[in-house]
């Protein structure tokens, strides 16, 4: 193989979104030499697209709020599949992380008395999301980016990691990367590696995710021997754009509903009142009058439009299937009839612009057409809650690539806070681990050679396949067979298709130079997407019940006695992806008591 450059750091962070940058800031501050590697330019990671806000029980709008209520909302939103310790740490620490971000320069919208304003979101009992209009993710990433730059952290931009490297004991001790610009390889030696690579949405056809969301971190962890958890739980965000076709899937923030927007079907009916599940009946308004009072008085119950996302996405799906959808196959999201144009433009500037420029729709006077879109992977690398250590020594994970925090369904706003809380904790965990090593581990050069040769193979073998075509077929398969509503027959068919697609992906031929060649990058990304698709599909077959972001038409109800007490764990066993059941550890009494409390 051609030669490659080598860099050595204490900690290597893969991904430069909110979790990766927050982790890197922590490790650098602790004195560990740190590198951040990212597939795009710095500041472009998918965090930049987060809109609504950061959930944290600051209590600046509703002093009644507390970490205990946030914990309860999160666990109930996750349908109790969550790693309860992560949910506890998240609820307890997110207020400090938000205030810390402010002290680093973030400028949140303000309350009249000058504190951080918080907005309502689905599944949250109180207005809890610290925000900046509807571009909170941009504020977070720029603040962390500036902080990282000021700290002098080395950032390797436009570099894709294609393999984690391990020492003979199996511990992770570095990574093999590919400079997208030059097409040359780069090897990182590191005592600890933090995965912060985000999500997997590009495996589906209609998604809010950017091109980067190809599940690289999930796949890298799997290949390195780590366990993934809850991979069957995929969040379909209820409100994605559906028209024009080219914009289909783009996120329409939940803040539209948090700020007063409602859902209507073709007949103008506010249909969510027909979809209030028993589980949420005690905390959801069942009349329009009560729902509309809730925004100003939290003694009333929440509008059903603000049920958790899994519930709303299924309801939208059902309305369309019942023939009550909009002309392009969605439903209507209406804020125009509910709030003043001035209020809408101030609170939702990005949505106003997005619809105006892409769809010729003025959301201050017209309704939006929306439908579900693949948004978020609840599942990911199984980590130890306090340190984010994976089941492989030396490998840590934080943010969307990690699993457990959100259970079967994530509440809106809990992702940005997750990035900060567990990005920081992963940084602390990785530094502690690195300091405890007697001898820095050394990667096996043979591993580098083999992975690099495999990557270069796409140029040589003259196979018949176009990577773009394989990707489109993968997206079609996952969209139609492993979507919002699943059946055993569809899932089994998906596995057959994945077998075929695996073969086709290996037969991809890439033409052109190694320098910035998107077809080559996609050929490599396909390896990750196919691994993730298989993990998701097999876990979905194994969970024979419906729960959160996993709905089975053939098992439409939750099974609290069996599957409600289990996480599905995916790992590689001698090259084969396997799924096993793992009992959820019992919750301490003091946390269980919080869940038993009245709404």
């Amino acid at each position: 193989m051609s030669d490659y450059e080598t860099h050595t750091f204490d900690v290597l962070v893969i991904g430069a979104g909110g979790a990766g940058l927050r982790a890197a800031v922590e490790t650098e501050a602790a004195g560990a030499t740190t590198a951040v590697v990212c597939k795009s330019l710095l500041g472009k990671a998918h965090t930049v697209m987060a809109e609504g806000g950061i959930a944290a029980a600051l209590g600046s709008v509703w002093p009644e709020d507390s970490w205990q209520v946030h914990f309860r909302d999160t666990m109930r939103g996750g349908k109790m599949l969550n790693n309860w310790r992560m949910a506890q740490l998240h609820a307890q620490e997110s207020p400090d992380r938000v205030l810390e971000l402010e002290s680093w320069g973030a400028l949140f919208d303000r309350t009249p008395d000058g504190r951080i304003l918080q907005r309502d979101f689905g599944g949250h009992r109180y207005a809890r999301l610290a925000h900046v209009g509807d571009h909170t993710g941009l504020e977070m990433i720029r603040t962390l980016q500036d902080r990282a730059v000021a700290a002098g952290i080395e950032v390797f931009m436009e570099c894709k990691i294609i393999r984690l490297l391990t020492d003979p004991s199996g511990a992770v001790c570095g990574a093999l990367g590919l400079w997208r610009e030059s097409g040359q390889f780069v090897v990182f030696h590191a005592k600890a590696v933090i995965l912060a690579s985000g999500g997997i949405g590009k495996t589906w056809k209609f998604t809010t995710n950017s091109w980067e969301g190809t599940g690289d971190g999930h796949a890298l962890a799997l290949w390195a021997g780590a366990e993934l958890v809850d991979m069957e739980c995929i969040q379909f965000h209820p409100t994605g754009m559906i028209w024009p076709a080219s914009a289909r899937g783009l996120l329409v923030t939940e803040a539209v509903r948090g700020d007063g927007g409602i859902l209507k079907n073709r007949d103008g009916e506010r249909f969510m009142f027909s979809y209030i599940p028993e589980y949420y009946a005690d905390e959801t308004a069942d009349t329009i009058e009560e729902a509309d009072k809730w925004y100003d008085d939290k003694t009333f119950r929440r509008p059903p439009e603000l049920l958790p996302r899994d519930e709303v996405a299924r309801a939208v799906n059902a309305e369309v299937k019942a023939g009550r959808g909009s002309p392009h196959g969605g439903v209507y999201l209406d804020i125009a009839s509910r709030r003043s144009p001035e209020y809408i433009r101030r609170r939702l500037p990005s949505m106003y612009q997005q619809f105006k420029e892409l769809a010729d729709v003025d959301i201050t006077t017209q309704m939006m057409e929306i439908g579900p879109t693949c948004h978020y992977a609840m599942g990911g690398v199984r980590v130890e809650a306090d340190t984010e250590a994976s089941t492989v020594p030396g490998l840590f994970a934080a943010g969307e690539v990690a699993g457990g925090m959100h259970g079967a369904n994530r509440l809106g706003g809990n992702s940005l806070s997750d990035l900060l809380v567990f990005g920081r904790r992963a940084g602390i965990g990785a530094v502690e681990y690195a300091r405890g090593l007697q001898h820095p581990p050394v990667p096996d050069p043979g591993e580098v050679e083999a992975a690099a040769a495999a990557a270069l193979g796409f140029f040589d073998h003259g196979g018949p396949e176009n990577p773009y075509a394989v990707h489109q077929d993968l997206q079609e398969a996952m969209q139609s067979l492993v979507g919002i509503i699943r059946t055993e027959a569809d899932l089994v068919r998906a596995v057959e298709l994945l077998d075929e697609l695996d073969g086709r992906a290996r037969a991809v031929a890439v033409e052109g130079p190694r320098q910035f060649n998107p077809a080559w990058h996609l050929a490599l990304d396909l390896q990750s997407m196919l691994a993730v698709a298989r993990a998701t599909t097999l876990a979905a077959i194994a969970r024979r019940e419906s729960r959160g972001g996993h709905t089975r038409d053939d098992y439409p109800d939750p099974d609290p006695e069996h599957f409600g007490k289990l996480n599905m764990v995916v790992r590689l066993d001698k090259g084969t992806v396997t799924v096993t059941e793992r009992p959820i550890p019992p919750m301490p009494d003091e946390l269980a008591a919080l869940l038993a409390a009245e709404r």
Partner: protein, 294 residues
């Protein structure tokens, strides 16, 4: 492919409608425009067509993009010579009777096809002294009135597409100016810090010298191309120029204005009492090192 998503722009019984893009292909050694003709689909943006060309005709066509929603600022290019985000430029706004030219941003060296080397921008970013807040209020948090954060919030909307840098004629046709000129994006960045209610540093000296604010002669080209509609010239550059002038020639006037701004009453007495102005502490950045030769 995705037949049900494909609605032709026009009906009729003839061949499906097509569109032709003339895309610049090449690298640092040179290149040329090449025509690519693909199906036209209603409602698409330029980036959609570029993607279809990638998928069907030119797999190795190099282009940056991420969000495809105007939020990340990755897909900047020149469409018929006009600097635009390709993801927010609808095909219906362009004349499709002739090939539409797509070329890389001109102010930055070409790497390959539509991808340019924008490392200049990241180098400038490293030279700007970071945010330095004063101490918080007694309870450990900060208080700021919405009125006081509005100005800096406008600048925080910047998505770093670098289109403003691309059109700024101080550097667009004068590579030699880059080492001594920060460009509109980073004047916006400095403005966001200078107008941040909590910040305590003073970057005026740096603006005057190393960042080359004086080279800008406010032609507003940057403001015109900003996809976030930030009033770069009026709200960032001109106020910064005034501050620099005040600092250089009339420190009393500058101090007076700063005190007046800081002392503006906020809606709640509590907020006013705990304003960071109470502990405000001006720190003047020492002279920056001399800029190396052009």
């Amino acid at each position: 492919m995705t037949p049900h998503a494909d609605t032709p722009t026009t009906g009729g019984t003839g061949a499906p409608p097509t569109v032709t893009l003339a895309i610049w292909r090449g690298d640092a050694g040179g290149g040329a425009f090449r025509d690519y003709t693909v199906r036209a689909i209603e409602g698409e943006v330029v980036l959609d067509v570029v993607h279809r060309i990638q998928a069907e005709l030119a797999g190795d066509l190099a282009v940056r993009w991420n969000c495809k929603a105007g939020k990340c600022g990755s897909c900047s290019a020149e469409v018929n010579g006009k600097p635009r985000l390709m993801c927010m430029t609808r095909m219906s706004t362009l004349d499709t009777t002739a090939p539409i030219t797509i070329s890389p941003m001109r102010a930055f060296p070409v790497m390959r096809d539509l991808v340019t080397d924008v490392s200049y921008n990241f180098a400038v970013a490293r030279r700007i002294p970071p945010f330095a807040p004063g101490p918080p209020t007694g309870d450990g948090t900060y208080r700021m009135a919405q009125f006081d954060v509005d100005r800096a919030q406008e600048f925080h909307k910047c998505i770093e597409c670098f289109l403003c840098q691309n059109v700024c004629h101080v550097i667009r046709d004068h590579e030699e100016n880059k080492p001594r000129y920060a460009g509109p994006r980073f004047f916006v960045r400095v403005a966001s810090l200078e107008m941040h209610p909590l910040d305590t540093l003073d970057r005026r000296q740096l603006l005057r010298t190393e960042l080359g604010l004086g080279l800008c002669n406010i032609t507003k080209c940057c403001t015109e191309v900003c996809p976030e509609h930030i009033h770069i010239t009026d709200n960032a550059i001109i106020p910064l120029k005034e501050r620099v002038v005040d600092a250089a020639y009339d420190p009393v006037a500058w101090l007076g204005r700063k005190i007046l701004r800081r002392a503006r009453p906020t809606p709640a007495a509590e907020a006013a009492a705990s304003s960071p102005a109470q502990q405000h502490n001006e720190v003047i950045v020492t002279d920056p090192p001399a800029v190396s030769g052009d």
